[in-house]
């Protein structure tokens, strides 16, 4: 089911939808790649669709760009049905995962390509291409450079400038940053977000990396097995995941199985003890549930400290995550993760025994 964030109902300030998907399905033979998606894309927003490989996000994007047609359902752009409008007649442009830069053309020729197709004269083409090169921060002397001799980051910029040269209303991105090294990726993510703000265009980005999505997006849609399981702002996805899948997709989490005891209190299934939990989402009554605690909300309790829920464990491993340190703590047969800021001493006894604790408000109670 499509979940709409609480803020979503049409309030007056929200921009009107530019793209609307109603009941979109795509099947290949017996395989359903995209399974009944309803989605409103607001004009000017940066929407990221995130999901593991095989979740149908690329198929969804290809239908939006016009490279595939939906088996069922309607796609409308500004209220007009565009299901069968071919890509070259749509005011949209896709930045491919492979970037699809033309290897037989120079940087300038690649960027000016959509203008050449439109019949713009050579001088005007060059002027516009140089302008766009400034926008994406490519040096002017790259105009005649062979595009295959550019570095990965430079190619990203060429692909972006080429898409902008087409002047689309909506830009699609199919994981273009997946082959870029971490540091450059961070820079390009921020630049892309800046560019989104400067151009005011609608961006729809797909990726398997939620971290990437968090940095750039106004809204994130999480896809799984052809469906959008949750859509909302990065804060909503992070702070109120609808299920265990979304929760685990956000990052490493601690998951504990619990069930109601005879007295109605929550009892641990794979660790002993009873727990105080926040009520489940939507006020559902559950007999079994999963408690999910993010490693950064799990605390190691010092002497005199206490928390709503406590577990005894033994620290057996630690990893440096840069500014934080992750501790792996064995509680019975279960391994719990705790992340502390660097420099905070570990309040453990000599035999590395610790008391873990978390408060009910810092955990999610989710349907199993």
């Amino acid at each position: 089911m499509l979940q709409t964030s609480p803020a979503a109902p049409q309030s007056a300030e929200l921009p009107k939808p530019i793209l609307q998907l109603v009941g979109i399905r795509k099947t290949f033979g017996a395989f359903t790649a995209v399974d009944t998606i309803d989605l409103d894309v607001r004009e000017g927003e940066f929407l990221t669709i995130v999901g593991p490989s095989g979740s149908g996000k690329t198929t969804l994007l290809r239908m939006l760009a016009g490279m595939d047609t939906p088996s069922e359902g309607n796609i409308t752009l500004h209220g007009q049905l565009i299901n069968d409008v071919p890509p070259n007649k749509r005011p949209t442009c896709l930045v491919f995962q492979s970037l699809a830069l033309f290897p037989h053309k120079s940087v300038g020729e690649n960027i000016a390509f959509p203008l050449k197709v439109k019949g713009v004269d050579a001088a005007a083409r060059k002027a516009r291409a140089l302008e766009l090169m400034r926008v994406v921060r490519l040096p002017e002397n790259y105009f005649d450079k062979n595009v295959m001799k550019c570095s990965g980051g430079e190619r990203q910029r060429v692909a972006l400038a080429r898409a902008l040269a087409y002047d689309p209303e909506v830009l699609f991105f199919d994981e273009p940053l997946s082959a870029i090294d971490y540091k450059l990726k961070k820079t390009l993510e921020k630049e892309l977000k800046d560019l989104h703000r400067e151009t005011g265009k609608t961006f729809i980005y797909i990726t398997h990396s939620l971290e990437e999505a968090m940095v750039m997006s106004d809204r994130i849609g999480v896809m799984r097995a052809g469906r959008i399981v949750q859509i909302g702002t990065p804060e909503e996805i992070y702070g109120a995941p609808v299920d265990r899948f979304v929760c685990e997709f956000v990052g490493e989490v601690n998951t504990l199985k619990v069930k109601r005891g005879p007295d109605g209190a929550w009892q641990g299934v794979d660790v002993p003890g009873s727990f105080t939990l926040a009520p489940p989402r939507d006020g559902k009554t559950l007999d079994e549930a999963f408690v999910v605690v993010r490693p950064e909300f799990m605390r190691i309790l010092g002497p005199g400290e206490s928390a709503d829920n406590q577990l005894e464990g033994v620290v057996y491993n630690e990893y440096s995550l840069g500014s934080r340190i992750q501790y792996q703590v064995r509680v019975g047969a279960k391994v719990m993760l705790v992340e502390l800021s660097r420099g905070r001493p570990l309040p453990a006894s000599a035999d590395r025994k610790v008391t873990l604790g978390w408060d009910a408000a810092d955990a999610f109670t989710l349907e199993s």
């Binding site: 896709l94 491919f96 699809a100 390509f113």
Partner: protein, 264 residues
């Protein structure tokens, strides 16, 4: 030490292969400079007399013209058919593609004299008078599959998203082909053209059955060797080889220039 020995072995082997390949050609060339009418080594007197006679011969002029006409037409038709054939072979998924991939290769494995005879019988059956034009058709039966393979190799190395990107950026189907597909397949098409020309230029078994009253260079050479040998045979043979070598060289040079321009 071992490295040196490997190098020596590589050089010896290369030299041996080169000598084995070029010795017969050189012998043929030498034979054409023999003043005496009959073939035999050692050559007593050298002369360019037979080369002059070959160049002056009206009959040979016509034969060369026939060979060139056939080869050029075969090149043009084969490359057009094979380019689209290669796209069907290597690029697009369609029903029957697997069968097509096998069927297209079959003529290559068919013995050419049998293929030639079969075509002659076929032409007679439908009442077509054989001439150099029927030979164009016969050559294509064998050459189109070869050229399709050559161009298909280029198609396999082609990222289909490039065509999609061009289409997405506003190109019509024709513009996609002209701006992206054709330029990127060009190296393969170029090799295909050279192959088509050279395979047709030197083809004997298919020409023998399908040229009718006309004659190509290989046919003429064969006829003269069977009866009426003069050193004009090795002279024309050497000229044909040199012509083909020049074409190949020019083709290679153009290829290098194109690549250089692309890399600039």
């Amino acid at each position: 030490m071992g490295h040196k020995r490997t190098n020596a072995a590589i050089w010896t082997w290369t030299l041996f292969v080169l000598v084995a390949i070029y010795l017969p050609i050189v012998c043929g060339a030498l034979a054409s400079f023999n003043k005496s009418r009959y073939f035999g080594f050692p050559i007593k007197t050298y002369s360019t007399e037979w080369w002059q006679k070959t160049l002056d011969s009206i009959e040979i002029g016509m034969i060369v013209k026939t060979s060139i006409s056939i080869a050029l037409l075969v090149t043009v038709f084969s490359v057009v058919i094979a380019t689209f054939g290669a796209l069907a072979f290597a690029r697009y998924e369609w029903k029957g593609r697997k069968l097509y991939q096998k069927l297209i290769l079959l003529p290559i494995f068919f013995p050419q004299p049998v293929l030639g005879l079969a075509m002659l019988l076929g032409f007679n059956a439908v009442g077509i008078q054989t001439s150099w034009m029927t030979a164009v058709f016969a050559h294509m039966i064998w050459i189109v599959p070869v050229v399709t393979l050559v161009i298909a190799i280029q198609v396999y190395g082609f990222d289909p998203s490039l065509e999609e990107a061009a289409y997405d950026l506003g190109c019509s189907r024709t513009q996609v082909f002209r701006e992206v597909t054709l330029p990127l397949l060009w190296p393969g098409i170029w090799s295909g053209m050279l192959f088509a020309f050279l395979l047709s230029w030197s083809n004997f078994p298919l020409s023998l059955y399908t040229t009718g009253a006309d004659s190509t260079i290989p046919e003429w050479l064969y006829a003269k060797m069977v009866a009426g040998y003069t050193p004009m045979v090795p002279a024309l043979g050497t000229m044909a080889t040199l012509g083909a070598a020049c074409l190949l060289l020019a083709g290679g040079l153009i290829g290098i220039l194109l690549r250089r321009r692309a890399a600039a």
